[in-house]
């Protein structure tokens, strides 16, 4: 039998236990003492310094002091902290620590201190990254190397070091070598590890990673048509809307400036996805991304819905996800248009007013083209709420207000631009009216801060005109 004791000087229990360790030595036991911090602690017991903490990691030490009994190389038992009876049992010394107290809990070991786990797992070879390693010498700045290699969206990225990637991988239950899907345009299989490398570069925290993985999965559903979206001539890019408890757990912004800058989760999740399209898929502007103008939301476009009013049915629930389950909705987004109405005082007035502006999505003389998101701010929502309107009433009101006589917007009827006779034939109802949006094409959500009677309209991609092939996608996040 031999014994290994792991201690640190910065632990009152370890200092307390020193006489007992000395008694073990005096009794002739084969005892090795390993110290995590001060190399010469405990004096006189000839300790070995585990300066890299690798040995402690391999021994799976969580608490100090820990005493482990081995038969040759096989562990027989271990004790943590100071407990007189436990120590006497493991050492077989009946009068061990006679003058010492009965019990004193130990302290946290340094090898399990926050941040240490992934560093040690990498060092121990327990995490093996397979992405190509790029060496950057001291004379080069990793951020500049990232630019030079074409990895960035124009803004600086966080250098994806092994440690950062390993920590990102700790944010998911998925294995690093699992394939998430084929990333367009080049249809490249993307592993969880590759996604993690890009998430690091975007500035994500590991707890955001499940949202990113879920968003990737949703965006790769055939009906989202990510290939067409990334190479379109139009403005659009992928928008990620987050619903459910995870949005609050990771601190996403659904309040003031929810569509703007300033929140790390909002900013980096959307960015990470676009970096994956760029770096893994190969979708780069002025190459296969043929956008004439683009829009700033193509850097990142991600926000959470305000679910603070329990009378409100969040978008994910309206689209079939169970209440209490986190979800992402992927939408083909053009930019944000402000909707300013400080005069409407009733739900009907406000609804009619919103419909007027929603007709401008893509163009006021186009119908059943792009989809849209209507983001209702708290002050506008209050007008609906006091008139007893919830999601169902608002959606129904907008549906009715968004009908228009087909004859008004036929091409050539007052202007060359308009819907074609074929579209008119296909979409007109028996009263000669046409809907602005395809069924399910207008997504209503709540977000924003109080203070003004303003809401937002996020217009959708022209590719949405083919709603049999191109639709927003909502998926639950529970698997990630």
């Amino acid at each position: 039998m031999r014994f290994v004791a792991v201690v640190k000087e910065d632990c009152p229990t370890c200092r307390l236990a020193v006489p007992a360790l000395a008694e073990m030595r005096a009794a002739g036991l084969d005892l090795e003492v390993i110290t995590q911090d001060i190399p010469e602690f405990p004096r006189g017991l000839n300790p070995r310094h585990d300066d890299e903490l690798l040995e402690s990691h391999k021994l799976k030490i969580e608490i100090v002091p820990t005493v482990i009994a081995f038969d040759q190389t096989m562990e027989i038992s271990r004790v943590y902290g100071w407990n007189k009876n436990d120590w006497r049992e493991i050492t077989g010394i009946d009068n061990l620590g006679n003058s010492m107290p009965e019990n004193m809990p130990g302290c946290g070991a340094l090898n399990v201190a926050p941040g240490a786990a992934e560093r040690l797992a990498l060092k121990a070879g327990e995490i093996l990254l397979t992405s190509r390693a790029i060496e950057v010498d001291d004379d080069n700045d990793p951020m500049e190397v990232a630019f030079d290699r074409g990895w960035t969206d124009g803004l600086p990225v966080t250098p994806p070091t092994d440690l950062r990637v390993a920590r990102m991988l700790a944010g998911t239950t998925r294995k690093a070598d699992e394939i998430i899907g084929l990333i367009p345009p080049n249809l490249v299989p993307c592993t969880v590890e590759k996604a993690a490398v890009n998430a690091v570069m975007a500035g994500c925290r590991p707890e955001y990673f499940p949202v990113l993985l879920g968003a990737m999965k949703a965006a790769l559903e055939p009906e989202f048509a990510m290939h067409g979206l990334l190479c379109t001539l139009a403005f659009s890019g992928p928008l990620i809307l987050v619903n459910g408890p995870i949005s609050r757990r990771i601190g996403m912004n659904s309040g003031g400036n929810a569509l703007g800058q300033g929140n790390r989760a909002n900013a980096t999740i959307g960015r990470a996805f676009q970096l994956i399209i760029r770096n893994v898929g190969g979708g780069r502007p002025q190459e296969i991304d043929r956008a004439c103008l683009g829009q700033p939301g193509k850097y990142t476009f991600c926000f959470a819905e305000d679910e603070g009013d329990e009378d409100w049915i969040p978008l994910a629930q309206a689209r079939g996800v169970n209440s209490g389950t986190s979800a992402v909705t992927l939408f083909h987004a053009d930019g944000v248009t402000g909707f300013v109405d400080q005069k409407s005082r009733t739900a009907e007035e406000l609804c009619e007013s919103m419909a007027m502006q929603l007709w401008s999505v893509n163009h006021p003389r186009l119908a059943r083209w792009g989809n849209a998101i209507l983001v209702i701010s708290p002050n506008h929502y209050e007008i609906f709420r006091k008139d007893g309107w919830g999601r169902a009433e608002i959606e129904d009101g907008l549906y009715k207000a968004l009908k228009r006589p087909t004859s008004e917007i036929l091409e050539g009827a007052g202007h060359p631009l308009g819907i074609t006779p074929a579209q008119a034939e296909k979409y007109s109802d028996s009263n000669g009216m046409i809907d602005k949006f395809h069924p399910g094409g207008l997504l209503v959500v709540r977000a924003g801060g109080p203070g003004a009677l303003m809401s937002a309209i996020i217009g959708g991609w022209t590719g949405g005109r083919n709603n049999a092939e191109v639709r927003p996608v909502t998926r639950a996040l529970e698997e990630y």
């Binding site: 950057v136 290939h227 083919n466 049999a468």
Partner: protein, 88 residues
């Protein structure tokens, strides 16, 4: 640092030389399903046929997604030349 890319490189393939003439050839006309690409094909097809050349029309289900494998295979098997029309 770890490489965030696909770690692959594009291969550049030589373009096949055009046939010396269209005699006995079949021309595939592939519409990507954008508005008015049919209109373009409708204008082009009689000109090709007038030269005594056979044409076959193809159409992607949507311009927002790559052409299905079956359509590409069909073109490869039945045509010598293909004209792809975008339009808007």
């Amino acid at each position: 640092m770890r490489d965030p890319t696909a770690e692959s490189a594009s291969s550049l393939r030589e373009r096949r030389p055009p046939p010396p003439n269209l005699s006995g050839k079949t021309v595939g006309l592939l519409s990507i399903s954008k508005e008015r690409s049919d209109e373009f094909m409708d204008a082009l097809e009689p000109l090709i046929q007038a030269a005594g050349v056979k044409t076959i029309r193809f159409k992607k289900p949507t311009h927002t997604k790559p052409a299905p494998e079956a359509i590409l295979q069909d073109i490869v098997e039945s045509c010598d030349i293909v004209v792809e029309a975008l339009a808007d």
